[in-house]
């Protein structure tokens, strides 16, 4: 059922987003100021058309919402881009609040303070509804990325943006375990085994509060995908679900098997205040198994914040993941440079380096990852066959939020 859904979806998207000259997404005209004729721009003439214009634009401002990609951009990717094209980039650690700043600039009718924004997928709906995203078909326009996974390139956390945000970074929620205490092979491999392990080892499982961190919310979503009954599952990837409908869904019977599973583990696990908090308990030797993000665990392992003995895996029931993307603000005055930078960040070179340095996956389907994955990189990542078969897309954000609220009321709130 699930696979059918995804493949139909992928097919529809592939048909609608064919490779041709650029068309504005969801509107008759482009909403961004351009010195070149955008409708004539295509992957074939991309660099030769843009580079001469970009050279006269001056420094590009690149906003980065993450807290962990700074070194990747500053020390590696941006210097390489600057050298390749002779352009200058200013990297700003902008956080998620930059969305508000960009909206304020647009409301005041002013130029955007940023020219490229690496935006959290959870914020794309707000940004697009406020009209701050340039309606460029990035999913089919970039010569470096002809092979994007069509679902990832047009949908973010159950919001269908149609290709105006290009998936730069992909990640997946997982189970982390410390092999000092839990040998590979004996780690919990299913939701049922995880519950049994927690009951047998009190306080040794750290579970991120779904209201506080994606790794916990990811487990909640994974449990919903695995445990909710068939008629309930039909809505999980329905982009039209409104917050009100989601609330009805989450308050009803659909959540019963899911909540029962969590009620079973609740007395035995330590619930934590966030993704980092869970990793800290693992580092302190207190938690032996925890809910994690694959890329954050990899990153923390490199920084010496998680013991080298920690490994990650996906539960056989499937675990959800998503990613974050790059958009060009509609108010940019430096479109040519912004497009060149976006294209560069999706290139083989950038995507492979990102995987090696940050454990961040790619939405590029034909990328030769074998070249980047040295053995020491491989062992800190989810085994490839698990990633290929068990990683699932996140459910629509409206249901996820409503289910989290239900979780808080049913599991965390004292009676």
């Amino acid at each position: 059922m699930f696979k059918l859904l995804v493949s139909t979806l992928a097919l529809t998207l592939a048909l609608t987003a064919g490779a041709r000259a650029a068309e504005p997404v969801g509107a008759a005209d482009f909403n961004v100021k351009s010195a070149i004729d955008l409708k004539a721009l295509s992957p074939a003439n991309f660099v030769e058309t843009l580079l001469p214009v970009a050279r006269g634009e001056g420094e590009v401002v690149f906003y980065d919402f993450t807290e962990s990609f700074g070194p990747l951009f500053n020390e590696h990717l941006l210097p390489r881009f600057e050298k390749k094209y002779g352009l200058k980039v200013k990297h700003v650690q902008a956080g998620p609040q930059a969305v508000q700043q960009l909206i304020a600039a647009k409301m005041a009718g002013q130029a955007s303070p940023a020219d490229v924004y690496f935006i959290g997928n959870g914020n794309i709906r707000t940004a697009n509804e406020a009209g701050i995203i340039a309606n460029l078909p990035l999913n089919s326009l970039l010569p470096s990325a002809p092979d994007l996974d069509p679902l990832a390139a047009t949908v973010a956390r159950g919001y269908k943006h149609g290709g105006i945000v290009v998936p730069f970074h992909r990640n997946v929620t997982a189970i982390g375990y410390d092999t000092r205490y839990v040998k590979t092979g004996s780690e919990p491999k299913t939701l049922a085994e995880l519950a049994a392990y927690a009951a047998a080892n009190p306080k040794k499982v750290a579970f991120t509060n779904p209201a506080r961190g994606g790794s916990g919310q990811g487990l909640l979503e994974s449990a919903i995908v695995a445990l909710a009954t068939e008629p309930c599952k039909a809505r999980l990837f329905d982009f039209t679900v409104t917050p009100e409908e989601a609330k009805v869904w989450a308050e009803g019977e659909c959540m019963t098997p899911v909540l029962d599973w969590f009620k079973g583990i609740r007395p035995h696990v330590e619930i934590t205040n966030g993704n980092t908090d869970t990793l800290t308990l693992i580092a302190n030797g207190q938690a032996h198994v925890g809910t994690v993000w694959e890329d954050q665990t990899y990153d923390f392992s490199k920084r010496g914040l998680v013991p080298p003995t920690v490994r990650v895996r996906l539960l056989a029931d499937g675990q959800v993941g998503d990613g974050d993307g790059i958009m060009i603000p509609a108010g940019t005055q430096k479109l040519a440079s912004a497009l060149l930078l976006t294209d560069f960040l999706l290139s083989d070179e950038a995507q492979l380096l990102k995987l090696e340095l940050n454990g961040s996956r790619s939405a590029r389907t034909k990328l030769d990852v074998a070249k980047a994955l040295k053995p020491e990189v491989l062992e800190k990542l989810i085994p490839s066959e698990q990633y290929a078969t068990l990683a699932r897309p996140r459910i629509v954000a409206t249901i996820s939020s409503a289910a989290t609220a239900r979780f808080v009321a049913a599991i965390l709130q004292l009676p």
């Binding site: 807290e67 700003v92 650690q93 700043q101 304020a104 409301m107 005041a108 303070p113 980092t276 914040l305």
Partner: protein, 276 residues
């Protein structure tokens, strides 16, 4: 005052408390700044297995950390000056003059401390962009002053309140204008309040993140907005956070010592005035 009392027991107790509450946590933070990423620092190790200055050198070599200290200091000094100028008359009026609705005003001036910076920042961001004040030092100074005025007004008012009314009346009846009264009476006598309020303004400006970011980024980067990289609420990278802590503390200690020096000299002056 004559010879300083030594009170050895009290001194011992206080320094022991200071050690437990300050030296120990800072020592642990310092150890974190020396952790070697390859080796880490995990339970059950009480101290890290190996130490290096790697985190220090990487962070200090990063783009603009040193420049950020400069920008932060300039902004904090400007904020402190502007805050003092705005707060002095208000504090004086609240402390010494009949003002209709005084209680309401006293409560209102505290409100900026409660309302989260996020709300103020987002609202003002909209306004400042229209006024052309966004992304400028002036914009950041103006927005930070909202957060520092409450401290200064409240602390200065308390200090001025302690000055005997008679002194002020005497000065006024001797023909001193408001500026003279401020310069020759209020400032010297309430000097501890100026130092305390100034320190609090300086420090809270130095630390402020949300409003500064929304109004100042990307062109104005203070130390604190840069530090978001390592200290964002969702991601704390212990070694980097530790380095940053010490980078912040060093200029602050300097400011504290300067304030201490200022306090001593001017206390002497104030005592002299009091005896006149």
């Amino acid at each position: 005052m004559s010879a300083h009392p030594t009170r050895p027991l009290l001194a011992f107790g206080l320094y022991a408390g200071l050690f437990a509450a300050l030296a120990m946590p800072l020592a642990v933070a310092f150890l974190w700044s020396l952790v070697v990423p390859k080796a880490g620092w995990f339970a059950p190790d009480i101290v890290p297995p190996s130490l290096s200055l790697d985190t220090w050198s990487t962070m200090l070599a990063g783009r603009g950390l040193i420049r950020g200290i400069g920008v932060s200091l300039v902004i904090s000094v400007l904020v402190t000056l502007l805050t003092t100028l705005l707060a002095l008359p208000t504090a004086y009026a609240l402390a010494k003059l009949p003002v209709p609705g005084k209680r309401a005003i006293e409560l209102f001036v505290l409100a900026p401390l409660i309302v989260p910076g996020l709300i103020v920042g987002v609202g003002l961001g909209l306004v400042f962009i229209r006024l052309g004040l966004a992304y400028s030092i002036i914009g950041v100074v103006l927005v930070q002053t909202i957060g520092t005025l409450p401290f200064m007004i409240r602390v200065l008012a308390a200090a001025i309140e302690a000055i005997p009314d008679d002194l002020v009346h005497a000065a006024r009846s001797l023909g001193a204008g408001p500026l003279d009264v401020a310069r020759r009476l209020i400032v010297p006598l309430a000097w501890p309040g100026f130092v305390a309020g100034g320190l609090l303004s300086f420090v809270s400006s130095f630390e402020e993140f949300e409003k500064t970011f929304i109004v100042g980024a990307p062109h104005i980067q203070t130390l604190t907005t840069m530090l978001w990289t390592y200290l964002g609420g969702r991601l704390i990278i212990f070694p980097n956070a530790a380095v940053v802590t010490f980078v912040l503390i060093v200029p602050a200690i300097l400011v504290f010592f300067l304030a201490q020096a200022a306090l001593r000299d001017e206390r002497a002056l104030a005592a002299g005035m009091g005896k006149l």
